[in-house]
């Protein structure tokens, strides 16, 4: 599709595009002007659809509660007001948003690391080794993907309580690492790796552990990072379980904490939106910084060349 170097910074990309607009550059075929206009019009439309609700969220967080639902609706706060943020960050706040944020970060990172570590080992065995019971184990593990989380709620609560993990981040980090999705996902990926790689290694005298850590894992970085990102986000957004097992205000994760800001009888929009802004801005920044690694990491380009 393009001959520009992969992973070039945006500025080089921009220059590259600009150049290709003026002169015919190699095989990249130039887009016609109507196509360009159509492309940008489509992009603009999509961006409006995507940004409008986010922008609404942002401006609402700077409104007073009265203004948030005042008709006619207005994009500009009348007046600008930071009391929602003051409620969240104020001294002695009952809503330690930053603490929740760090709790979420720690839990999601640890959970995702745990999942990648244990799932990779298990998936490797299931993909590349023959042993009695393999099909049964794999089939049984995969079947559990289809059980609604609800099945596990009460039993896992009782187990976690026996382990003394209630009201601690252990309850958020560990149990969901038993999920079968990652094993299934990585096993599919490992199965596609060429056999010759490890046969060569075996001739060189490597054992399974060496093959796994030195050959398979490095080749699987894309799949592993995909799984890490998926697990992180799933854990980051998990709502039902943390609300169930965490109690203390300083132990909550973000979704469980933000749930406390809501009220069944009336909604204080500015506070909820301010909480959402605080919760999402760091992740968005993280995404912007890491997205190239994530996306290009997910792709397996290195493998096929």
């Amino acid at each position: 599709m393009t001959t520009l170097a992969q992973g070039g910074s945006d500025s080089t990309t921009e220059r590259g595009t600009a150049r290709s607009g003026r002169v015919q550059v190699s095989k990249t075929h130039r887009r016609s002007l109507p196509a360009q206009i159509g492309f940008w019009a489509l992009m603009a439309l999509l961006v409006v659809i995507f940004i409008a609700p986010l922008l609404w969220m942002l401006v609402t967080s700077f409104k007073t509660n009265e203004d948030a639902t005042r008709i006619p609706l207005s994009w500009l706060p009348r007046p600008w007001d930071v009391s929602a943020y003051r409620t969240l960050f104020g001294a002695g706040s009952a809503n330690p948003v930053l603490r929740w944020f760090f709790n979420s970060l720690v839990a999601a990172a640890a959970n995702s690391a745990l999942i990648v570590a244990v799932d990779a080992a298990a998936a490797y065995a299931l993909a590349r080794m023959d042993f009695p019971g393999k099909r049964v184990i794999f089939g049984g593990v995969v079947a559990t993907i289809f059980l609604p989380i609800f099945v596990f709620l009460i039993p896992n609560y009782l187990i976690v309580s026996k382990l003394g993990w209630l009201d601690s981040l252990w309850a958020i980090i560990v149990p969901s690492a038993g999920g079968a999705f990652g094993v299934f996902f990585l096993r599919q990926f490992f199965s596609t790796l060429p056999r010759e790689l490890e046969e060569a290694a075996i001739i060189d005298g490597a054992n399974q552990w060496r093959i796994f850590t030195r050959i398979v894992l490095p080749l699987s970085k894309p799949a592993l990072s995909t799984l890490a990102v998926l697990s992180f986000l799933t854990n980051w957004n998990d709502f039902l379980w943390p609300v169930f097992v965490l109690f203390s205000p300083d132990k909550l994760t973000l979704p469980a904490g933000l749930a406390k800001l809501q009220n069944a009888a009336s909604v204080n929009y500015p506070i909820i939106m301010a909480g959402a802004v605080v919760a999402s801005v760091p992740v968005i920044l993280l995404f912007i910084i890491a997205q190239r690694q994530v996306i290009e990491g997910i792709s397996r380009s290195g493998l096929k060349g």
């Binding site: 008709i71 009952a94 720690v106 981040l169 609300v243 109690f247 203390s248 069944a264 009336s266």
Partner: protein
């Protein structure tokens, strides 16, 4: 926190995350320290002081939003007045509280004090989440005559007291004075009867104002229906609570009246959650049967003026939906008597400061307080105190909310035009009666 940050960092596993965890553990220790206070036991809580050793109590409730701010303020005041007792308040959404509290109590992680609604008390009592507290009530010298009968009874389950009444909260008529002016109505004289109500609606309609938005949801349509049901002489359940009776003629009249408001254009169709109230605040809806908990918000509005009055009498008698917050003591694993004593002291202190609590938009459960100058001088609350004799409360039966939910379904279906009022109510009542019989088997 500490426990888990150590193995993580030792293993070099997510070093950064572990460091964050460690930092947080330190912060947690710092955050827990109590503000130093020199004040001794205060005279304001005279009578039943706490003299035991120093204890920390966990107090769980569903006072989200503005309620929570008031509760927090009062807890802080209590903590500074009472050096030997430190209360940590923890707020959840009510729905979450009833998942979390039973779970926490069974695993020995429950709080020392809780607050809940009277319709939740029997269910939680039957499930042994909360314990009988007759002795606490006796020690507090609570007298039945000090409370509305339903509030007093609401704290009872199977002849034992589980709840100490804190407040009453009910519906009132919230109306937009600016719209009243616009339609040539007297903004100081909101309608009190059906005829006045309909006349006001017609005047409003002539100015293109839809005057009484009907919400299809529990808040506020379901609460409005219950008030009307009682006004028309009906009741939710038979007196022994074995049958749902909201499909009586009274119920059908009540719901038909609501649906007719929509059909005749006094309300838009398909009103969304909270839209009735938001429209009121924006001078789009003139009258809203709304909960007392919104008083603080509407009296602070800057762009419009909201009046608050007792509900009009649409049916043949007075009837107002209401509920009551009550203090409960969750079952605890240990037998820490000083904690129970401290909890009892906290409860009595809080109830004595009921007028402060009322400022969050409540009527004190204690009649004497409700009549006191301290309460009646609070802006906007007086009409609700006057209503108290007409307030109906949910019955004290375990699992009652499972049955009542069916009634909310019927209101939703009828107001949204999915079923006619009679058949919606009838189907729901039949299902609810089945639920009641299941529940009586289950909870005994």
């Amino acid at each position: 926190m500490n426990q888990f940050s150590v193995p993580l960092s030792r293993r070099g596993f997510l070093g950064a995350a572990g460091a964050v965890g460690g930092a947080m553990a330190l912060a947690a220790c710092g955050g827990q320290s109590k503000p130093p206070t020199a004040a001794g036991p205060t005279g304001s809580a005279a009578g039943s002081a706490y003299n035991g050793p120093k204890v920390t109590l966990a107090f769980w409730n569903g006072f989200t939003g503005a309620d929570g701010d008031y509760a927090k303020k009062m807890v802080n005041q209590f903590n500074s007045e009472t050096p030997n007792i430190h209360v940590n308040m923890n707020v959840f959404q009510w729905a979450d509280l009833f998942q979390k509290m039973p779970a926490a109590v069974t695993s020995g992680n429950g709080p020392d004090i809780g607050a809940m609604h009277i319709d939740d008390i029997p269910t939680q009592a039957a499930q042994r989440v909360i314990v009988p507290i007759d002795s606490v009530a006796n020690n507090l010298k609570l007298k039945e005559s000090d409370f509305a009968p339903a509030v007093w009874q609401g704290g009872m389950y199977k002849n034992a007291r589980y709840g100490i009444p804190l407040d009453v909260h009910c519906l009132g008529l919230f109306y937009n004075k600016d719209l009243f002016d616009k339609a040539g109505l007297d903004a100081e004289k909101p309608p009190t009867t059906k005829d006045e109500y309909m006349a006001a609606l017609d005047k409003l309609k002539s100015k293109n104002i839809q005057g009484s938005w009907v919400s299809p949801f529990q808040f506020t349509g379901g609460l409005m229906f219950q008030s009307l049901l009682w006004q028309f002489g009906g009741d939710l359940y038979s007196s022994d609570v074995t049958k749902a009776t909201w499909d009586s003629d009274a119920g059908v009249s009540a719901l038909t009246w609501m649906v007719d408001l929509v059909k005749q254009g006094y309300s838009p169709k398909n009103v969304g959650q909270d839209a009735d109230y938001i429209a009121l605040k924006n001078a789009k809806n003139a009258m809203n049967w709304q909960g007392i908990w919104q008083v603080n918000e509407v009296t602070k509005l800057t762009t419009t003026h909201i009046g608050i009055a007792a509900l009009p009498k649409i049916g043949t008698k007075g009837g107002v939906w209401g509920n009551s917050h009550q203090f409960v003591l969750p079952r605890s694993q240990g037998n820490d008597n000083s904690k129970v004593e401290a909890a009892a002291y906290f409860v009595s202190w809080f109830i004595k400061h009921g007028a402060d609590w009322a400022k969050s938009g409540k009527v004190p459960a204690d009649n004497n307080l409700a009549k006191s100058q301290a309460f009646t001088s609070i802006t906007g609350l007086k009409p609700f105190a006057d209503e108290v004799p007409d307030v109906h409360f949910p019955p004290s039966v375990a699992g009652i909310n499972d049955a009542t939910a069916k009634m909310y379904d019927a209101v939703n279906a009828a107001v949204l035009g999915k079923a006619d009022p009679a058949s919606a109510l009838h189907t729901a009542a039949k299902q609810a009666s089945q639920v009641l019989s299941d529940n009586s088997k289950k909870y005994g």
